[in-house]
């Protein structure tokens, strides 16, 4: 059974994207990613209002094992960051696809969404 909800889109860098009713994208890291990382202890996220470009580095996630870069799944402007997750990085382990979201983005190029994977495709990618 997949831990990765079918209503989200995924990247090979283990980020997920949820498109809200208002068209904004919520971004986080996947269940698989947090499971590999182990307990997350520190987050570095981009500034609200900054422009981020697809595939560029947007921040870092530090766990008890390692520090990993976060990559931008879709270009746009950062509308909001999850302050609760910064103060309580354990949210990412507890609920990676919900309370552990990282940033909300106003998408600048909708066609980029087509390059993201479905949950099935993502599950296949991590199984190989």
């Amino acid at each position: 059974m997949s831990e990765h909800p079918s209503d989200l889109r995924y990247t090979k860098e283990h980020e997920w994207v949820r498109i809200g009713d208002d068209g904004t994208a919520t971004i986080g890291i996947t269940f698989f990613a947090q499971d590999q990382l182990g307990d997350v202890v520190y987050l570095v996220l981009p500034k609200v209002g900054s422009s981020i470009e697809k595939d560029s580095k947007m921040g870092e996630v530090e766990s008890v094992k390692s520090i990993s870069d976060l990559f931008v799944p879709v270009s746009g402007e950062v509308l909001e960051i999850n302050k609760d997750a910064i103060d309580h990085p354990e949210r990412i382990n507890e609920a990676p696809h919900d309370a552990g979201w990282l940033i909300k983005v106003k998408i600048s190029n909708e066609t980029e969404l087509e390059q993201l994977m479905s949950s099935n495709e993502y599950d296949q990618a991590i199984a190989s």
Partner: protein, 490 residues
């Protein structure tokens, strides 16, 4: 091996727990000057809760603590990539000789000729080992050697009118210090992937070897404990693109007396004397990370370098600065005590001895590989060098992580191996037995690893709750990082 938890005993108490008001270990003579009141403004704080103890209380407390120390002198310590080999005591005896221990870095050169001769001889030996024509003992640690090396590569390109060569290539298996050093020296780091055999992917390397290339930092054998058979080709690709090759010598214990890095194409290499030549380390040092340097980079070496002068038939030694030096790295001339120990080690073993040391180190690692490969997944199924990297993925399927295996090893009196590194191996367990361990010790370790593999299948909770036999059990490392509270409050 029992799993009962040891009760916290008096050895667990802090100095404040055993403090008794009014108790003291010293008796001060009566003051023969009038007591003066302290102006309030001079007081930093109101209370200073110092423990009150007798001399015997203090001696027992710290002796007990010292007995808890875990070290290569007490237990098997197969910490991968750290080469925790035995530190022969004669090294310490030699370093304690008053002529070495009592001198000062600012003494005139003519009064420390013996010390300089030792440094000069050590430079010669390291050059012989690496095949490099020059060296300096100035860097104080491995990463310090890395920083010197990449700063020299930077200076080389700038002097040749190529300041745009700012890309430093680093394999995805590298020590984390490599990208950090390159970044500090102003390079942009580009990661080169490994192929499915754990070697550098030559096609991927060729794709990024262009006119922006500053150099490549590579560890040989790699952090996977593997010798890359394409290493000569790797160096050629980098050189053809105009870059230079930095060799991270952290794993030199596999190559001592076997391979001259200069012959392979390296331009600069650091050696971790505290690993490869048996000086004490752990707990942060002190170390020594001398660099051995090829012709292109010799003028840029950090200062000082010891120079031998045989003019007029009389040998003398002096400290010199190379013409285009990147500068001085520290006060003094490196960690001199470490250099003396290293020299004593190399002299004691001799050329044949160091060759046997590397051979035995590789033999011991392969012995563990063969005896454990049916119980722990081997991601790269080939002969290893001085260390073997297993993956705990079979145990993970049973609900046991590499971390749990490591914590359980503590119960059995073995220092945990390096975990979760290299990053490209899932649930990595990197085991480096070193040449100084006997077959009996290796067999005892194998027995422990067999027992742990059985526990993983039968009683995984024994592992996930380990350690059981230590003064404190499993520490909450995540909480310690999330909410660090490092101040003791009495």
């Amino acid at each position: 091996m029992t799993t009962e938890t040891r009760k916290p005993q008096e050895s667990h108490q802090t100095l404040w727990d055993i403090s008794v008001p009014g108790r003291s270990g010293v008796r001060l003579p009566e003051s023969d000057v009038p007591v003066q009141p302290m102006p309030d403004a001079a007081l930093l704080r109101e209370e200073l809760p110092l423990p009150e103890l007798s001399e015997l209380d203090v001696v027992r407390h710290f002796t007990r603590l010292s007995q808890k120390n875990f070290s290569i002198d007490t237990n098997f310590y197969p910490l991968g990539s750290c080469t925790m080999k035995y530190n022969p005591k004669i090294n310490d005896m030699v370093a304690s000789t008053p002529g070495f221990s009592g001198i000062h870095p600012l003494q005139p050169e003519e009064t420390v000729q013996g010390a300089l001769e030792l440094m000069s001889n050590l430079q010669d030996m390291l050059q012989e080992i690496t095949g490099m024509p020059a060296s300096t003992l100035a860097p104080l640690a491995g990463a310090h050697g890395e920083l010197s090396g990449v700063l020299m590569i930077r200076a080389f390109h700038e002097q040749n009118g190529n300041p745009e060569r700012k890309v430093m290539l680093i394999p995805d298996s590298a020590h984390g210090t490599n990208p950090a050093s390159a970044s500090m020296a102003g390079f942009d780091v580009v990661t080169v992937p490994s192929d499915d055999q754990g070697n550098m992917d030559l096609k991927a390397l060729e794709a990024v070897a262009n006119d922006k290339l500053g150099g490549l930092m590579i560890t040989l054998p790699s952090t996977l404990g593997l010798f890359d058979p394409g290493i000569v080709e790797v160096c050629e690709i980098v050189h053809e693109a105009g870059g230079l090759v930095y060799g991270d010598g952290a794993n030199m214990n596999a190559l001592l007396g076997r391979v001259k890095l200069n012959d392979l194409g390296f331009d600069v290499v650091h050696l971790n004397l505290h690993k490869t030549t048996s000086t004490p380390h752990g707990g942060g040092g002190p170390g020594a990370g001398p660099i051995c340097v090829g012709d292109k980079l010799t003028p840029f070496m950090p200062s000082p370098v010891v120079e031998r002068d045989s003019e007029g038939g009389v040998e003398s030694f002096k400290l010199v600065s190379p013409p285009n030096t990147i500068g001085t790295l520290s006060a003094g001339h490196g960690n001199f005590g470490v250099l003396v120990r290293s020299y004593a080690y190399l002299r004691a073993l001799g050329a044949g001895g160091i060759r046997q040391a590397s051979g035995d180190a590789v033999l011991n690692a392969n012995y563990l590989l063969k005896r454990l490969e049916h119980l722990y997944y081997l991601p790269y199924d080939r002969i290893c060098m001085h260390e073997v990297v297993f993956s705990g993925r079979w145990q993970k399927a049973q609900g046991v992580k590499a971390l749990d295996v490591s914590k359980r090893l503590i119960d059995y009196g073995v220092h945990p191996p390096t975990m979760y590194f290299p990053l490209i191996v899932e649930e990595a367990l990197m085991i480096e037995p070193t040449e100084t361990e006997s077959k009996e010790t290796l067999d005892a370790f194998v027995d422990v690893m067999i027992a742990i593999a059985q526990e993983s299948g039968q009683t995984p909770e024994v592992l996930t709750e380990a350690p059981h036999n230590t003064p404190v059990g499993r520490l909450d490392e995540a909480r310690a990082s999330r909410q660090p509270d490092v101040r003791y409050r009495a």
